[in-house]
Structures are given as structure tokens and as C-alpha cells.
Assembly symmetry: C2
Amino acid sequence: MRVAIVGATGAVGHELMKVLETSSLKFSELQLYASPRSAGSTLEFRGQPLTVQATPEGALPTDLVLASAGGSISKEKAPRWVEGGAVVIDNSSAFRYDEDVPLVVPEVNGEAALKHRGIIANPNCTTAIAVVAVAPIHRKYGVKRMIVSTYQATSGAGQKGMDELLAETHKVLHGQDAGHQEFAHPIPFNVIPHIDVFQDNGYTKEEMKVAWETRKILGDESLLISCTAVRIPTLRTHSEAITLELERPATPEDIRELLATAAGVEVRDNPDQKLYPMPLTASGKYDVEVGRIRQSLVFGGGIDLFVAGDQLLKGAALNAVQIAEDLQRRGGLPGH
Amino acid sequence: MRVAIVGATGAVGHELMKVLETSSLKFSELQLYASPRSAGSTLEFRGQPLTVQATPEGALPTDLVLASAGGSISKEKAPRWVEGGAVVIDNSSAFRYDEDVPLVVPEVNGEAALKHRGIIANPNCTTAIAVVAVAPIHRKYGVKRMIVSTYQATSGAGQKGMDELLAETHKVLHGQDAGHQEFAHPIPFNVIPHIDVFQDNGYTKEEMKVAWETRKILGDESLLISCTAVRIPTLRTHSEAITLELERPATPEDIRELLATAAGVEVRDNPDQKLYPMPLTASGKYDVEVGRIRQSLVFGGGIDLFVAGDQLLKGAALNAVQIAEDLQRRGGLPGH
């Protein structure tokens, strides 16, 4: 099987290559594509240099495209890649809400990927991180209401976002005013409750993505979900405070036991030892850390919890590769 | 009237002096007390140098004590100050839950201060900031459930907390590992869902303070409140995402109108112009910024909003001085 990464030089592209290096995905060739500006540069994969090519206009000579070059490029080119015979796993939001495009987190709804018509969508990072923790709870106890407040890292805006945080923080520490380009306001030592564009209902698109995508992945349109999405000055892990009202009451011990064996989850919940989810420990980790599990004080039998997941991994690159691995295992991709 | 600040050299002490400089409180003398280590140093007040004295064991020769030297000092010494004839406005949590100690946010329950028996408690910073926005909503629409996620600044751990953030961030930018002393883990580019000590129910004391104190200030023990308190790498303003279920349905427009004339609140809610509450704009400001006001997606007729308030001001020093101003206006302190 031939694999192509489109957007190879970005932050997610970088992580895609790292994840593929140790992935169980069987493939014989890796092609790297990026903007013409990056064409000709080389990136190392499994000890070998690979040359980055400019993404061509038409089809790609590949079986699988891992696309992470932004929504407009995906919107324009993915249909051509599909026409050329490739399966596309797309990291943008371009196709996520199309009825015939599966939106997949393998631990939760891996089988949905088999129904693709060429394109499989990778969810929004915040959603992917939340849903690995919430899906097992929903299956066993039935989530009725879900309230999410996010603590989102600058990696959500790509390498440029992380670079801006570091460079502008450096300025502030040296007595200069921070500027901003990737974010709506200066990000050092600040909090910006504004990610993606505002919708008519006063929520941002980022906040609505969590509601729309969680419902689609869990296959339950009756779920009530509200999100506040907030950018904070961290580098690459998103944290989320989640409050759940449940159909059937659960205790924190029930949830700890349930999640202890859940795929993609590391229960990190020992306050006595100061163990709880944090960017410091979750960054670079495949599993999503889940902790601060406690009985809700507003919903009888409900649960409060806190999660931290690497935005570039489970929130992007890792999930995309896991979709491919899972699909190959299920016979939906060439096996070698 | 003679006024004494105990803990004058700390972060809140510094802000108390700044707030008193332009306060309407009428007083003839200001005394500054701190630990023996700081005794003999001078601080400037209204252009005059004042000498810091070591806090004595017994009574203070003053009419009003603004205490901000920590819970154990307040617990030990406040009763003696009261015996000596002073009214004590205490910034620690030592007396907040005592039945005969009023817990006061002047915009909300200023009249409660009159019932003091010597000690008036200043609420926890997170509570004070939330309650100026929530109280008018509760009065008009009846809050049933309140879910709070906080984004708390390092100033909550005093000057040392802010210094640690700056010094450790500097280290990280220069390729060194960050250490920690004031916080349970390194704070630069990190998120720590742990403030104050853990309780048996899995919540931290900081989280329970928000529940206990909001109920006490609003005088409504039936209110259901759940909080997740999170330390983030910012300097001095706490932000909070708040979801409210209401007895009587309200629209975002209703709430914007209501809060436009609420004391202590600045409605900052114009997404089109990128105006919403942020530490960058709320720091140093007396009013609490309130924005991102929108219809809850989980509670019919409920409201989601976002607040940002200076932890050292409305969350501490300003509220303490406002209690004194209000009490003097109501005749509960000497008038000159």
C-alpha cells in the first residue's frame, strides 16, 4: 500500500510521520506533499530522507491520503484524490458533517469507517479527546447532558501557534508588549475565549463542533451538549473539564473501574499523590489522561471529570493513523 | 478612623494600599503590619513614606483591620484585634463559614456586614468574581444549577506565585526544566487541576469554597453548584466559564440588559469586534468583565457566560475596601 501525507511540513504532518514510524499500518511507500514553498526539502522517515513534493492539482499516485493541509485544500482536492482511487482520511472540518462521510474515533466507532465513499473524516481535536473518555460512560450509563469547558493549547493553530506563544512570551519577559498574528489577541499570560468563528447563536464554531461531532460519533442526536472553548498559553495538550448528567446513576468508583479497561484512556486519578491529568504529563502520550473523577454536585448520580490529551496526537495525527490501521485490519485497505 | 493593614508587604497588601489611595473611605491614619522580616521597611502611601511594623502579639491601636496575612495568622490574632475594639475585614478563609461571621460582597449583600460581631469575611477570589455577575441573574431569574470551570491566575498564590510563573517560564524558554515550589507541579505552559487541598468527596477545598460561599452570599442553601478549579499560567486575573440553569427562562438579551446596569460588572460582549472577557483587559480593572453571554444548549432558558476579574482586586483587596466603604456609609464604622 502507498501512503501520502498532504501537509507534511506542518505540525500535524510532523506528528503523522512520527506516528507512522512505529505504526502497525502495513505500507510499502510514503509520499510527502506540501505547498510549493516547501517542495524540494527533505524529511527523514525511518532513517531515510524523503523529498517533499508540491501537492499536484489532480489525483495522487497513492492508495491512502492522510490530509492535513487545511479545510480549503481538502475541500478542493480530496474529491480528485478519491476519483484517482485513493481513500482519504481528512483532518479538516471540510467533510465532517456530510451525511455520507464517516466521522471516526476507532476506539468508539471504528466500524463506521467501512461505510466510507472515499473520504473518512478525523474529528476536531477537542471532540476526539473528550469522546474516548465519554463514549464508554455513555454506553453503560447513558449521557443526557454534557457540559464542557476547554483549556486548549496553541498547537491547535499549528506550528505557527506554538511559535507565536514562545516568541511573544519571550518578548513579555523582556519588558516588551506581546503582539499577535495567529490568535485574535496576544496569548502570553492571557486566556482567549474565542476559537474559530462565531456562529449566529453566540457560540463559536469550535464550540459547536464539539456538540455536532460528539453526537455524530456516538450516534445519538438526543445528547444535549454545551461547550465553552478557550485558548490558553500552553503548547500542545488540550485539557477539558466535563460535567455529565447520566440516565442511570454511577459512582466515581464505577467510572474509574469502567475507564480502567477502556481503549485509549489512562486513568490518572490519585489526588493524594498529586496525580491528575495535565499537559505536562499528557504531552507526547498516545492515551488520553482522565482523572478528577467525582460525583457531580448538580446532577444526582452524575459525574465530573477532567481530561488531558495531546492535541497533535489523539487530537489529530494519531487518530488519523489509527483510523487507517483499523480500516486495514477490517479489510478496507490493501493489506501490505 | 485609624486603619491597619496586616500583611502589607504581600501581593494583596500592595493592592490594598493602591485601592485605599483613591478610596472614598474616610480615615485619618494608616498603619502597616507584616512579618518581623519586613519590619522597618518603608512603603509609600499618597506620597508619604510609611514604616512597616512587625505585627504585635496582642491588640492593634486601630479601628479597622484589613487582614491579608493568611488563615493561621487571622485565626490566631483576629479575636484579639476584635477584643481591642477593632473591626476586622479578613481576607482568609478562617472565619468564612462561621455562622456569626458575615461573608460579604457589597454589590450583593452589603447589608449583611452590619450584623458583624467584630469580624467580616472577604470571600474566596473565585467566588467574589462569579457572584457579582450571577447575583443579579439569581435575583431576577432564580438560579437552580450553576456549573463553573475556572482559569485561575498564579496571583492566587500571592506575589510568590507570580514570581514563580515568570522565573520558571524564563527557564523553559532557555531550554531548562521548570521547577516548582508554590504549586504542586511546574506551572509554565501547564494546567494544574488542583488548588488548595483535596476533600473526601474528591473536590478540592477551592472548588467547595465556590459552592459554600456562593450559597452563603446569595442566602440560598438550595442552590446546586459544581466547580472545577484549575490553575493556569497567567498572572493576575481569574476567568470562569459558567453555565446556569434558571427557574424562569431568560434570553441572552435579557441578561445583557440586566447586567448592563449591575454594579461591579462591565458587560464586554461583542464577538464581532472580538470583545469578550480576558485577563489582558480585565487585569487592573475594578469591574468584573462579563461576556460570551449565550443561550445554554443543555438547559432550556438557561444561560452560558464567561467572566474575568482581577483576582487581587475584586477577588481580594478591592472587595475588602469596598466592604469598609459600604460599612462606613451605613454607619458601621467611624465616619472620619
